[in-house]
Symmetry: C2
Subunit: 151 residues, 2 copies
């Protein structure tokens, strides 16, 4: 696995990433909302207390002290497959000004590594039709259909 | 919402459902494995300790003291949608000898109710192409594509 360009690091989410624009990066994905620091900390602390199941990683541009890419894997505990574990990859986002640097692939490779090393028998995600080729390049293949219901 | 046929109850998973054939019902879905009682209790107790995020329900045939249908919803905590919650429906299974009694729909309706009442902004699941019409009848619509990677 090739390394990141110079000046960038990949690491777990930190509390100070609120000030480093983590939530802005997520805006390429969907509606994020306007978190106060207290709302940020509420969710950050929940995830930290559940660090056996929630893993969020970021890529940071060190000179600018800015988050440029992010992603999560959530480890589900099942009965099937003899108490099998399933990794759910969620909320993959790369800053629109940082495309072409393969940050998306780096994030996915790191999350696959986490999934494998926590013992997941599979790692899954849902993506739009246009992103299927990207995830195929990352080693995934199309299996089922995501269905949604909104209350 | 119509009630269940007489003699059947819908309720949360109980520890004694090991003896009531809960794991056998899951066999319609995939490989389940041969759980010892200790392995069953390990997973059951984990889910119980995480009862704010794991909800598993069953339908039981009272006269026979047998589980005939089952399903789960796992509530994921996100940053997007202002600390939004997403319900993941998993491991929907109905005993092959109990088809046509609408147990699948009852399980899904109950899991949607749980998702809505825990505050999920959406409830999602992955299904095979042939099951899309069933989930459409349950109020779901097709959104994205499930991608899988196996270590
Ligand atoms: C692999 C990946 O990043 N998938 C994301 C998912 O994690 C995210 O939560 C959702 C937001 O869409 P929503 O606002 O409609 O829930 O979009 C995509 O499905
Ligand atoms: C809605 C529903 O019940 N979906 C199930 C999923 O929950 C289950 O975990 C998987 C097992 O397949 P696997 O053995 O290939 O993981 O099948 C289906 O996708």
């Amino acid at each position: 696995q090739a390394s990141l360009p110079k000046g960038y690091v990949l690491r777990p989410l930190q509390s100070g990433d609120y000030e480093r624009g983590f939530l802005d990066v997520l805006k390429v994905l969907t509606e994020v909302g306007d978190h106060t620091k207290a709302q940020w900390l509420e969710r950050f602390n929940y995830l930290k207390q559940h660090s056996h199941e929630y893993f969020t990683i970021v890529i940071v541009e060190e000179a600018k002290n800015k988050v440029v890419a992010a992603g999560s894997v959530i480890v589900e505990r099942k009965f099937v497959h003899l108490n099998g574990l399933v990794g759910h990859i969620e909320d993959i986002a790369v800053d629109a000004n940082q495309q072409g640097k393969k940050f998306g692939i780096k994030i996915i490779e790191a999350l696959k590594y986490i999934g494998e090393n926590t013992g997941c028998y599979k790692v899954i995600l849902d993506c739009s039709e246009k992103n299927i080729p990207f995830y195929e390049k990352c080693g995934f293949s199309h299996k089922e259909y995501e269905m949604v219901w909104r209350p």
